[in-house]
């Protein structure tokens, strides 16, 4: 019998509760005597508060309290820097400015919180918001990231000389000499604009203070409950053991629910203590558009040096990254961009310089992809342009430059987002490309199908391109695995879960070691009362970092089981098998003991636990990689476009992903499908439209278009498995992969479809209207 569970298409343990409305989300927490908070937010993006009067709101029937920054006093100070100190790169500049719970004097983006109303119901709290009287002094607004860095720009932070939040240069080889010896130099400028993660569940926090035991319990829609627990304890002067943070079922994370220390996250627990009442705050969708972090604003000026036969000699990329009004999350996103601007190619010379700009916009932190799509957009657009200029097929020019299988580990000599060396651990890039070309029928399409379409007057294009994803970064995660008296396995880890199937994929890892059913492994994630060490769910790291901690803990428990069973069954450990919740002596089925009985023997009520041993069949293990594994994939797309309306129809979408060992292909495919859907949104539907006053013009789902079921094509997913040598399981991350190459692929496909327009796309996101404008301009140019 095949005992392997890793790699099996197992259906999810968590589904039945989710499918029947029994799974608890933050807004489902309902406590006796609970009060409800509503936030009074700034209408202006940049303004001074001249005066604020909350007396009428306070007097309103049903209002319990209203707080402004002044009322909060000395407790109103900024959140902690989350990724600090800045990276150890020579001459790095990093100006750390963080958000506060309530703004006292100067507003730095629309939607910042100025006051909070707490009332008996949410309805009353919102009524009272209308009773707050405020006078603003509007200030000139910093809305554009390039203008933000011009000498005469208004300042987002008055104590700084400019809006420069950070400056960092990284180099590999010598770009200038590469340039001097190049046959062809290509220069371009690319602009990438903001979108929003739009998790279906908005953010929310419920805090409960037990004054008698001085214990705080917080339910938070966070991807990282342990750092929130630690930060809250420090902030509120409580022992960490007296603060419990629970991230229950979370309705999608995608980055912005990371350990931000959002203003509300600092405010609501403080209010619960202050008022000695449970307090709930649930974000509404409009607030989510203004107050939940966003991503993707960058402008790149890039130059590449090539030989005549298409070999890349070097790349030089200068870019500006928009961090919004504050930069609590450090340089993660622009560092990620830097790590991905070389894509999966062997590039000997590289210079990358970025400047991060403060603007009067919502804070920027990682969102699914997290700077990576930008890097891939830049390199892959440049490869397309180079292919055209050099007259080389776009697949062929990529093939000539992909890192070869024998070049791994491939060291870049720069640092990544985790300040670890950027090293690609393993891969078989060309094989992934070949698999995709075969699956999509590239040759046949180019030679037979496309000419036929074109003869019919139809504009059908194909796109194919590779991407890398750095994943699974440190510092560490942990897991505790316990065989309970029932024979079931209890597992706890600190990472939060937002739909990734952790209750199943982690269970597979543990069940395989312990010879039990996947359904007999009960996982607890994201509750500091169950496991209080860890960082969180981000950077496509769950399956790598928490997964390998699970594996290590389960392996330790397996050893304990074998040791004890060997004694009980009087048989050598090598002859024992773990299967069906039993330990059996191989070939002697009647000589066996259940895990349940064994767990009881390991935790006896009489007798003695031998010196040097521990009671129970339990182990805790941690996994912390020196650097993360790098996954690779190739996406291909065939799409038809109507040049009159610029409406598209995607006819084929093929993904080949190599994320090392696959834990569960069903879950993996789901992750890729969702990633591609977000990527298509980023490419052609979703753009946050800010005006020159940094006012968001499309802050609703009516005006901000998410991809729907009728826009999504069927996605064909293929797999290659190049195990990572960095960890026992051989896993690489995949959570963000689907989203990363899509805008670049979309641009390539559209250029190919609109072949007679001589189109060169240098911006993303597009939409039908914008594409029409660009196409018309280029055609008449």
């Amino acid at each position: 019998m095949d005992k392997r569970l890793i790699g099996k298409r197992v259906v999810r343990n968590e589904d039945p509760r989710l499918l029947t409305g029994q799974a608890q989300y933050v807004d489902d927490v309902n406590l006796p005597n609970m009060a409800h908070a509503a936030m009074f937010r700034s209408e202006y993006a940049h303004a001074r508060i001249r005066s604020i009067d909350v007396s009428k709101a306070r007097a309103h029937s049903g209002v319990i309290a209203v707080y402004t920054a002044e009322d909060m006093g000395a407790d109103c100070y900024p959140g902690p820097p989350l990724v600090s100190p800045p990276p150890t790169v020579k001459d790095v500049i990093f100006n750390s400015r963080r958000q506060v719970p309530l703004v006292k004097d100067k507003i730095r983006h629309a939607g910042e919180i100025i006051a909070v109303v707490i009332a008996e119901t949410r309805y009353i709290a919102e009524d009272a918001l209308d009773l707050i009287e405020i006078e603003y002094e509007p200030l000139p607004v910093v809305a554009d990231i390039e203008k933000a860095l011009e000498p005469n720009s208004p300042l987002v932070h008055d104590d700084l000389d400019s809006n420069l939040a950070a400056h960092l240069v990284q180099k590999k080889g010598d770009y200038e000499s590469a340039r001097a010896s190049a046959d062809v130099i290509i220069q371009r400028r690319f602009t990438i604009e903001r979108g929003t993660a739009a998790a279906m569940e908005n953010r929310g926090i419920v805090a409960q203070w037990d004054a008698k035991s001085e214990a705080l319990t917080v339910w938070d829609t966070t991807q990282a409950p342990i750092p929130i627990r630690n930060g809250l304890a420090a902030r509120l002067g409580l022992s960490e053991s007296k603060v419990r943070v629970i991230a229950p079922f979370i309705g999608g994370g995608f980055g912005p629910k990371i350990m931000m220390f959002y203003s509300e996250e600092m405010l609501v627990p403080w209010l619960a203590i202050k008022l000695n009442r449970p307090v709930k705050w649930i974000e509404d969708r409009r607030e989510n558009f203004y107050a939940t972090t966003q991503e993707r604003g960058q402008v790149h000026e890039v130059e590449m040096a090539f030989t005549r036969d298409g070999k890349i000699l070097g790349i030089k990329d200068d870019f500006i990254h928009d961090t919004g009004a504050y930069d609590p999350y450090g340089l993660t996103t622009p560092l990620n961009t830097q790590s991905h601007v070389m894509g999966g190619y062997d590039i000997p010379n590289f210079t990358s310089e970025f400047r991060v700009a403060f603007t009067n916009k919502t804070i920027v932190t990682p969102m699914r992809g997290a700077g990576r799509p930008h890097g891939i957009y830049v390199i892959e657009r440049m490869m397309d342009i180079a292919a055209k200029e050099l007259g080389i097929d776009r697949v062929e020019i990529r093939r000539r430059n992909l890192i070869k299988p024998d070049a791994f580990p491939y060291e870049h000599g720069i640092i990544d987002q985790a300040f670890a060396p950027l090293i690609f651990d393993s891969g078989n890039y060309e094989a992934v490309l070949n698999e995709t070309l075969k699956a999509v029928g590239y040759e046949k399409f180019i030679k037979e199908e496309q000419p036929r379409y074109r003869a019919e007057g139809r504009r059908v294009g194909i796109g194919v391109l590779p991407f890398i994803e750095t994943t699974g970064v440190g510092p560490y995660e942990g897991a505790r695995v316990t065989v309970e008296a029932s024979g079931k396995i209890a597992v706890a880890t600190g990472v939060g879960t937002q739909g990734q199937g952790h209750f199943t994929s982690f269970a597979q890892v543990v069940a395989e070691q312990l010879g039990v059913d996947v359904t007999d492994v009960r996982i607890t994630t994201g509750d500091s009362a169950h496991f209080n060490w860890g960082t969180g769910t981000f950077a496509s790291r769950g399956a790598v970092v928490a997964g390998n901690a699970m594996h290590a803990a389960a392996t330790m428990v397996r050893k304990k089981i074998l040791k004890l069973a060997s004694k009980v069954l009087n048989a050598p450990e090598e002859e024992l098998e773990l299967e069906d919740g039993m330990v059996r002596v191989a070939d002697i089925p009647q000589s066996s003991i259940s895990l349940s009985d064994l767990a009881a023997l390991a935790n006896p009520l009489r007798g003695a636990v031998e010196p040097g041993t521990e009671p129970g069949l339990e182990a805790t293990a941690y996994y912390g990689p020196q650097y993360g594994p790098t996954a690779f994939g190739v996406h291909a797309m065939i799409a038809e476009i109507d040049p009159e309306t610029m409406m598209i129809k995607i006819l084929r979408y093929v993904v080949t992903e190599d994320c090392g060992t696959i834990l569960n292909p069903l879950i993996l495919e789901g992750q890729i499908h969702g990633g591609v859907a977000l990527g298509l949104g980023n490419a052609y539907y979703e753009k946050l439209h800010f005006d020159e006053n940094a006012q968001l013009l499309n802050a609703s789902f009516m005006d901000y278009l998410l991809v729907g079921s009728t826009e999504m094509p069927r996605i064909e997913v293929h797999h290659l498995e190049t195990r990572s040598p960095l960890n026992e399981l051989g896993t690489k991350g995949v959570g963000e992969a689907g989203a990363i190459p899509v805008p670049a692929l979309f641009a390539q496909t559209m250029e190919d479809a609109l072949y007679d327009y001589n189109l060169e796309i240098r911006e993303t996101p597009l939409n039908p209207n914008r594409l029409f404008e660009i196409a018309r301009k280029e055609k008449t140019a």
Binding site: P16, Q22, F249, G252, G670, G674, F701
Partner: protein, 162 residues
């Protein structure tokens, strides 16, 4: 401003149980379900009728519970996700979503399940295109819809077989 405090007596049947409550006329149906009678399976994603997460069945028809006042359900029959099946006895649609991995974070799922349950009553043997059209009023950020579509097609097959 005076809060609208005058309450109205509401009598409504939810998942086969009759509830009688005195509520403010401005109370949304979604808030009534979630907070008054504590059926928190119905989720609220946008509060402006676009995302579809809050969809419930009223007299068998899908409605957005965030776009209705609870008092508008006077004397009506409401079915929420809790009324479709239980953990131990999933409905055919729920079972199909389980088998086809038609959900990830699960937040949009209740609205999709109610919508699909009603859809398969009117169209028991839909094409993929019809399924995509039927769920086009429900947003999902996790799945890219493919496994949801697979789940609906599987549910149709299961229902036909039973």
């Amino acid at each position: 401003m005076e809060a609208t405090t005058q309450k109205i007596e509401l009598s409504v049947t939810v998942n086969g149980t009759r509830y009688e409550r005195a509520i403010e006329p401005r109370m949304l149906l979604s808030d009534f379900l979630r907070h008054e009678i504590e059926l928190t399976g119905t989720h609220v994603g946008c509060e402006h009728g676009v995302c579809g997460a809050c969809s419930v069945l009223m007299d068998g028809e899908p409605v957005r519970s965030c776009l209705m006042f609870a008092v508008q359900t006077q004397g009506r029959e409401i079915v929420t996700v809790e009324g479709l099946g239980t953990v131990d006895a999933l409905s055919p649609v729920q079972q199909a979503f389980h088998e086809a991995h038609g959900l990830q974070c699960g937040f949009c799922t209740p609205g999709i399940l109610t919508t699909v349950t009603a859809f398969l009553e009117t169209n028991p043997n839909p094409s993929e295109e019809e399924v995509r059209e039927a769920i086009s009023g429900n947003l999902c950020r996790c799945t890219g819809y493919q496994h949801i579509v697979d789940a609906v097609l599987l549910a149709a097959k299961k229902k036909q077989a039973s």
